[in-house]
């Protein structure tokens, strides 16, 4: 016989829980993004696990440049930390998202790689079964939490603001390896809809899917990297005259925040558009302390934050 309480429990929504995968850039360069995630998710009813002992994903210039098995072994150890607790990982960094999921894809597709990885993991008493994956914060907010709940959760709205979105390369391609996919990976809409849910306009612009130019490109040839970023920034200025750039990836966010300052100093651009990660924007709209959730930047954010807090009270 089924008791009433049991029936109620069955109907209750299963509490969402993710392992918060930090990566390197968020941990050391932009911990305000980490703080934003630590604030918004519990407030939205999502439990976070620290994944104690996590490491670098590993990023492209390290183990992926050596061989598949080494790449997958480091990724698998990180994925194990979630799998052992029965949870998926969640990240706000596109590189971590891509490296972990590409590694998982390789292991699932190729049993030889999976076996070699598990032989290595056995030496530290772990085993990866291929269950745990890495989710992207953008998708978790869009799919698992939903636009309606986001609308209800904010204290400040972005009415009248125009946002240029920057989903970032590793949010989109190669679509085959990701747990969540845009309908058309060359015309992404998820980040635009997330911004619109907060009251802003987030229109299409010609260079919306262009690369920001950070990472290996920037470390190999900064001049070429800045030129690529400048093209995109000028498009954002000319086509949208955006109040704000909102990225789904912490690396893209760092690049546009940082590069504008350099380009201005070199006299190559004469404008300044504040840049935020989406989780930071959401955290500000939810009423968390901007110093904690968006306190680290090169391109000033004070004015836009003031405008949001003064202008958009619901």
């Amino acid at each position: 016989m089924v008791s009433e309480t049991e029936t109620v429990n069955e109907n209750e929504e299963r509490k969402l829980k993710f392992g918060l995968f930090l990566g390197c850039n968020i941990t050391f360069n932009r911990p305000d993004v980490e703080q934003a995630m630590r604030k918004i998710f519990p407030a939205l009813g999502v439990e976070l696990d620290d994944l104690a002992g996590q490491s670098c994903c590993p990023t492209w210039g390290t183990m992926p440049s050596i061989d598949d098995v080494g790449w997958c072994a480091v990724a698998a150890r990180n994925l194990c930390l979630g799998e052992e607790k029965g949870i998926d990982l969640m990240t706000a960094c596109n590189t971590c998202y891509a490296s972990l999921n590409e590694a998982r894809h390789k292991m699932l597709k190729n049993p030889e790689i999976m076996n070699s990885v598990n032989e290595i993991l056995a030496k530290i008493g772990r085993k990866y079964e291929g269950k745990a994956k890495c989710r992207h914060v953008t998708w978790v907010l869009y799919k698992d939490i939903g636009l309606e709940k986001l609308r209800e959760s904010i204290k400040y709205t972005l009415d009248g603001l125009t946002i240029a979105v920057q989903p970032g390369c590793h949010f989109l391609w190669p679509s085959e390896v990701y747990p969540d996919r845009e309908k058309d990976p060359f015309n992404p809409v998820v980040l635009r809809e997330l911004c619109e849910a907060l009251g802003a306009e987030a229109p299409y612009y010609t260079k919306l899917i262009d690369c920001c130019g950070i990472g290996a490109l920037r470390s190999t040839d900064p001049g070429k990297s800045f030129a690529l970023a400048k093209d995109k920034l000028e498009c954002i200025k000319e086509e949208l005259d955006a109040d704000l750039i909102v990225a789904g990836c912490c690396s893209c966010m760092i690049q546009f925040d940082d590069v504008q300052d350099k380009l201005r100093k070199e006299g190559k651009i004469n404008f300044s558009i504040p840049v935020l990660h989406y989780v930071q924007l959401l955290a500000i709209c939810m009423g968390f302390d901007p110093q904690q959730v968006a306190g680290i930047c090169v391109t000033p954010r004070d004015e836009i934050i003031k405008r949001i807090l003064e202008g958009g009270k619901r």
């Binding site: 941990t27 911990p31 490491s55 480091v74 030496k123 390369c169 989109l172 690369c211 490109l217 306190g295």
Partner: protein, 188 residues
């Protein structure tokens, strides 16, 4: 005279050796690239779809995806081993998404890096990243913690940075990979 003939090794003709190496390289470079992960290399028909959307092609790097594949197929040794283009690839995978023949040009870029690594033709920053990954568990690592303090977080993140056992686990993993065989970084 007899002594000289028996005891002195024959003179090595360096030009001949270099040419022999070059020929061998030309013969086997495609095989190596396939072995290093670009399984569908031979399916490339040089249509150029990958080049049309590659950030490296757009910003003026010499050996972007399509040209790199061509160079591999014809075995251009110096051009391939001396150019740093593969190390500039942002791994965006636009090429993988758009390739009509499933060549996965990004895997070719990555395989080229793996081939260059065997020849120690890699950027200093890459070696630093690997060393940092081994020493700290983070490829990007900073000792300063002002940023974390400023936003109200503990100075030590819950990563290998604050967990000696976890760092040892990672080191054990790395010691059992090809990285250790290559000897690119000191691994205590």
């Amino acid at each position: 005279m007899e002594l000289a003939e028996e005891g002195v090794p024959p003179v090595i003709n360096l030009t001949e050796l270099a040419e022999k190496e070059k020929e061998e390289f030309e013969e086997k470079v495609s095989e190596l690239i396939i072995e290093f992960g670009a399984e569908n290399l031979m399916a490339c028909m040089q249509c150029g779809a990958c080049a049309s959307i590659c950030p490296l092609a757009r910003t003026g790097f010499e050996w972007y995806n399509k040209k790199l594949i061509k160079a591999i197929l014809v075995g251009m040794r110096e051009e391939l081993l001396d150019d740093m283009t593969p190390w500039a690839c942002v791994a965006c995978n636009r090429c993988t998404e758009i390739c009509p023949r499933n060549v996965t040009p990004f895997e070719v870029m990555l395989a080229m890096r793996r081939l260059m690594v065997e020849d120690f033709a890699l950027p200093t920053l890459t070696i630093e990243g690997l060393r940092s990954l081994y020493e700290h568990g983070h490829a990007v690592y900073m000792t300063g913690r002002e940023a974390r303090k400023k936003v109200g977080l503990p100075e030590k993140p819950p990563t290998t940075d604050s967990d000696e056992k976890a760092l040892q686990e990672l080191k054990t993993i790395l010691k059992n990979t090809k990285l250790a065989e290559l000897g690119l970084i000191p691994m205590e």
